[in-house]
Amino acid sequence: MNIEKKTEGSTAVLYLNGWMDTMSAPDFAAALEALDADTKELVLDLSGLEYTSSSGIRQIIAAYKKMNGALTLKNPSAEVLDVLKMTGLTKRLHIEA
């Protein structure tokens, strides 16, 4: 998985591209850890994320808690959205299609 980061003021945008499984989810965890301390909002652009397992979802939950809810998921693919629906997270997370 490839992760790109852009900053727009106090908003950080992480672009997740490729596959996020048990082996690559730690890369996302590291990217979260590396966010600037003054980041007030986090956007995860998932338009390039082709697949995620629960390991990736677990990191998305960690991101939500780290940002105290100031998290937006953008453009998840149909497969990723399916996994989010199976966990019930579509009812709790802010998702923009």
């Binding site: 697949y51 629960s54 939950i61 939500y64 966990t87």
Partner: protein, 132 residues
């Protein structure tokens, strides 16, 4: 053949290392069996979840798998010699989805993804067959 009959039949298991890297090997076999991308990703997702549980929680020293085309979809099997655990009987307690970081999410995803699944404990091994 029903899963209940299949699980008792001779199966062409491939032994593989008890490690997350085995997902790559299983994925290669799945990709050879289908060019249906959606089916392939769903199969990999289920294998990812089950394999992760085996590697992290079972204490297994040996594990194996097989996969084949079946009824327009896939039939996949996993075995391990770890602690007895029937994933088909595990019912994660209802909880706030944001509490799933503490466990249970993988099996919840698996239960909703498979078409049918069956478990047996035999000769000190957990055997699991599932269809997609």
């Amino acid at each position: 053949m029903k899963l209940t009959e299949r699980i008792g039949s001779v199966l062409s298991w491939k032994e593989t290392a008890v490690g997350l890297s085995s997902l790559g090997r299983i994925g290669e076999d799945i990709r050879r069996l289908t060019d249906d991308t959606e089916l392939m990703k769903k199969a990999l997702l289920v294998c990812d979840e089950l394999l992760t549980n085996i590697v992290l929680y079972s204490g297994a020293a040996h594990m194996g798998y097989f996969c084949e085309r079946s009824d327009g979809g896939l039939l996949i099997g996993l075995y391990d010699d770890g602690a007895e655990f029937d994933p088909t009987a595990y019912m994660p307690a209802e909880k706030d989805p944001l509490d799933f970081d503490s466990g249970g999410m993988g099996l919840r995803i698996t239960a909703q993804s498979v078409r049918e699944w069956i478990y047996r404990r035999a000769d000190g091994r957990n055997l699991l067959l599932f269809t997609l």
